[in-house]
Every structure is written in structure tokens, then in C-alpha cells.
């Protein structure tokens, strides 16, 4: 069952076509990895899927309903967006920051209630930041901060989680933890779309991979079908090492192809 779908999405920014007639689809219960070189249009697609950007052409639907026709606040309960390198403008306390994710659920005149506090706490527990709850965000390391911001997105309890580079500043332990968490969120019959740069993690944890190149979907499908040496070579311009082990297959970028042979 197709839940989140984009059809014929075209976006131009400053005269450049960032997305060109892109079709995208994510089903409930799956983690979709959005990969591609820098500037390919991954973040733009994610923002279109969130409803933050209205495409010049094409449309996004959630459960067959036109995304922009869903009222703002209902949409905010359904979809959580986690930007890459998001700023935090004031030195807020961690638990208060995570609680901001509960805003769409609060009534217009009532504050946050017990249930909101529980959701905030459970989101913090899932990203392993409960110890930090009374710390101030500006005093945290990049990795701790990233996990706090993920907790904020989880606190929304969304049907759809759209995460832009959620693991890029994490150490290996927490990268694995967050990827497991994304899988865990998806098994709850939710949809997770994550922009990833780490091909190994993408191959291991995503149910499906969508590879964007120059504003078009270059390839999509199961990880082993997309992350082949040939495809990675032609899109990223790097040679890879792939291996099959008893634990699973993996693909590691190894060497740049000489710039003369790679046309970006």
C-alpha cells in the first residue's frame, strides 16, 4: 500500500531545475534511503515531501490525499521533519526543546499535559538522551545535540518521519543506534525517509534505496539492486569495494575515479 507519494515533481530554484519530473513513493512500514551526490536534490525532495516547499509542477499525496489540502496543524501531527545541521537559536534546556515536538498536539489554549510529558520522555529515552535532559543544548557535543534533535522529531509521534542526514555527525555506536531506531519507527506501520551519505549504512538498514542524480531519480529499488559498483561508479564517480560476508553484504567507496573519466 502506497502511503507517501510524489508524482511528476518539478522544482526550479534561481532558474535551475533542482528536481525534474520526480516520482517517489514510500510505503508504510519501510525505511527509504534517499541517496545521491551533493546538490542532487535530496533535501529539496525531502522539503517537498514535508510540504515546506510547493513544487512548480506535480503533487505529493499522503494516503491518496493531496498533502497541501490537509490542514496545517493536522499535517504537523502526521509529518515530522528533521533538517540537516539545524540551528538552535537559544540555549534551551534539552527536555524543553524535545517538548517542542508536542506543539501540534497541544490544544489552542491548554499547555502540555501528562501524556505529552510521557511522549517527550519516551522520545528522549529512545535516542539515549535522558541523562542530558536538564543540560543546555549549547553545552552538548555535536553527536549529543543531533540525538536531542532526533528526539524532538520523534516526540511529534508522526506517521511520516523525514530526516535529512540524521547520522552524519554521530559516532559509529550512535549511528547504528539511530539507524536501528529509524527501523523501529518504521515497523510501527509508519514511514521513514532518510537522506544518507553512508552507503554501507544505507545498504544495511534501508528497505529501499532511491538514488537521485542531477534532479532525477537515477535508480530505485532494493539496496542490493541500487548499490552496485557500476551504478555507484557512474553516479558518484568512485570505485567501490563490495563484499559478501556471513553477516551481510556491504559496499564501501574506495577510490575516486580520475576526474577526466568522470563527468559530473
Amino acid at each position: 500500500m502506497s502511503a507517501l507519494a510524489a508524482k511528476g515533481v518539478t522544482v526550479s530554484l534561481g532558474g535551475r531545475e533542482v528536481l525534474d519530473n520526480v516520482d517517489f513513493e514510500a510505503k508504510r512500514g519501510e525505511v527509504v534511503g534517499l541517496i545521491g551526490p551533493n546538490g542532487a536534490g535530496k533535501t529539496t525532495l525531502l522539503r517537498v515531501l514535508t510540504g515546506l516547499m510547493i513544487p512548480d509542477r506535480g503533487a505529493v499525496t499522503l494516503d491518496e490525499i493531496e498533502l497541501m489540502s490537509i490542514p496545517r496543524v493536522s499535517r504537523a501531527k502526521l509529518i515530522a521533519y528533521l533538517p540537516a545541521d539545524a540551528p538552535v537559536y537559544w540555549p534551551l534546556r534539552v527536555d524543553r526543546l524535545v517538548a517542542l515536538g508536542r506543539i501540534p498536539h497541544a490544544g489552542p489554549w491548554s499547555g502540555l499535559n501528562e501524556a505529552d510529558a510521557e511522549m517527550t520522555e519516551s522520545a528522549m529515552a529512545r535516542t539515549d538522551v535522558l541523562d542530558l535532559s536538564s543540560r543546555v543544548i549549547s553545552s552538548l557535543s555535536n553527536g549529543e545535540r543531533a540525538r536531542v534533535l532526533i528526539a524532538r522529531a520523534l516526540a511529534v509521534e508522526p506517521e511520516v518521519l523525514l530526516a535529512d542526514e540524521p547520522v552524519s555527525s554521530l559516532d559509529p555506536y550512535h549511528q547504528l543506534q539511530v539507524m536501528e531506531l529509524l527501523q523501529d519507527v518504521a515497523t510501527d506501520n509508519r514511514i521513514v525517509v532518510a537522506v544518507l551519505h553512508d552507503l554501507t549504512l544505507a545498504a544495511r538498514f534501508c528497505d529501499r534505496i532511491v538514488l537521485i542524480h542531477d534532479g532525477c531519480i537515477a535508480h530505485h529499488g532494493l539496496p542490493e539492486a541500487v548499490l552496485t559498483s557500476d551504478i555507484v561508479r557512474s553516479v558518484y564517480g568512485v570505485e567501490t569495494i563490495t563484499a559478501s560476508t556471513s553477516a551481510g553484504d556491504f559496499v564501501v567507496p574506495w577510490r575516486r575515479i580520475d576526474s577526466g573519466t568522470h563527468s559530473p
Binding site: L52, Y81, P83, A86, P87, Y89, W90, L92, L97, R152
Partner: protein, 324 residues
Amino acid sequence: MLVALSVVVLVLFIASLATGHVSLPLIRTLVASFGDDPGMLGLILIEIRLPRALLAIIVGGSLGLAGAALQGLLRNPLADPGVIGVSSSAGLGAVLVIYFGIAAEWSLAVPIAAMTGAAIAVALLLGLAGRDAGPLTLILAGVAVNAFAGALISLALNLAPSPYAVIEAVFWLLGSLADRSFTHVWISLPLTLVGWILLATAARPLNALSLGDDVARSLGFNLSRVRGQVVLGAACCVGAGVAVSGAIGFVGLVVPHLLRPFVGHEPGRLLIASGLGGAALLLAADMAARLLPITHELRLGVVTALIGAPFFLHLIVRTRRTLI
């Protein structure tokens, strides 16, 4: 926190009623003033000191609230009602009616012209900044409006027909709460209340904005509406305040700064606290202006700037490591 601030405002309010050239037994006069014959002291209390103290609360509260809301909206600790050009445009309106001599004939001309000036500034600002303006565009548009209003004020002073008009305009621009009556309270109160409501109800979107525009929008807020609400709210209450008091600087800048650590730096919780803080600061500054043993009573804007500027510097030096 809010309770403590409210108590401070109340104490300062009572102290303000008791402060002045004529010393009066506060409680006895208060009781007498509700009777048939208030007497001279009763008149001083009700007709002179009460409106003055009320205006300090109205204007100070507006400046504190608007400063906190604008700093939250623009995510810039340097923002204040002066930055978006509302104060100086209101000042321009007032200077113009003084310049053309209308003020001398009709005492309500100054407040009405000041409010009109503030309204034009907001219309200009929203027009300049456009629908999807970011915080930086808003600040820059505000700086431009501010500079232009300042230039026109200078022009008016430059071309003033008589030195008396210049003195009157300059004194008005320095800001004061002296010799205000209940008429001034009633002029400024309605628009001030509208502004307060607009600003105080923006707490939640301002909190969400701490995480950036995209996240705030993904949490269900229409940012164009939030910007309009805060800018309009600030213009209403600051414009109404400047209209009766003249320009009073630094309150909108310093008070939010001072109180931010006490509310966990949350822009939403800062709003009411900063409003109360602004009221307290202006009550205190107004008392200081009256109490200082100088033959010429100091203008309130001068007092707040004299206290505010060095204090602000001290604050910056002390907090520069934690300043974002």
C-alpha cells in the same frame, strides 16, 4: 518568577504614587480621594500621579513585551522596537504636528500623529519585507525605515520656523511621563491592549522558531502570519506608548536580555516576564527622574538610556561567552 515580578511592579507602582515634589500621606489621601471632597492632595494623587504611574506600566510593559517578541521573532538579541523603525516613525509623526503648530492648538494631535506614523512604518515594513521575508530582511527593512524616519525628523528640525518649535520637538523626542493626564491613559490603552494580546498569543510559534523556520513550519505554523502578528502587535503597543510618552530607548533591549536566563531562554515564557520587567524598570526610572535633585527634571528617555547603555555593555561583557 512571574509572581515575583508582579509583586515588584505593584510595590514600585505604590512607591511611584508616593513619590513627588509634594509629600502626601498615601493611605489617608487615597481614602479621602474616594470621598466627596478629595482635597488638593487627593487631586494630586488621582489626577497627576495615578495617570503617570499607569502610563509607566503601559509604556514600560509594551516596550518590554515588544522587545522580547521581536527578539524571539528575529532570533536576534539586538532587536528592539527601535530597530524595526516603529519608535522613530511615531516620533516623526509627533515632530511634524509640532512643526506645523497643530500641536499647540489641539493637544490630542501629537498622540494621534504618532500612532499614524507607527502605522505607516508597519505598512511600509510589511510591504518592503514582503510575504516570505526572513528575519534578516525584516531587520534590514526596519533599519531602512528607521533611518528614513530619522532623516525626516532631522529635516523637520533643520527647517523649523522657530527655535521654540525645535526645543519643543526635541524635548518631546527625549521622552517623558510628566504632566500626563487620564486622557493620555485612555488614548493609549485600547491600542496597547490590542498589541499586548497579539504579542502574548505568539508565545508558541516563537518557541517553535527557536528551531528555525523549517521546523517551525513543520510544526504547523504559518510563518507569514506569525511575522505579521508580532510586527503589528509591536507597532500597536509601542506606537500607542510612544504617542503619549515620546521615545524611550533601551527598555525593549535590556529587559528581555536581563530576564532571559530566568525563563530558560525560552522566547515564549520570556514574553510576559519581560512585559512585567519593562513596567517595573520604567516605574523605577520615572521615580529616579523625579527624585534626582536637579532643578530641571530629567527626561525619562535620558534616564533609561543613561542607565541602560552602560548596563547593557556590562551584560554583554559578562555573557559574551554564552551569547549565541
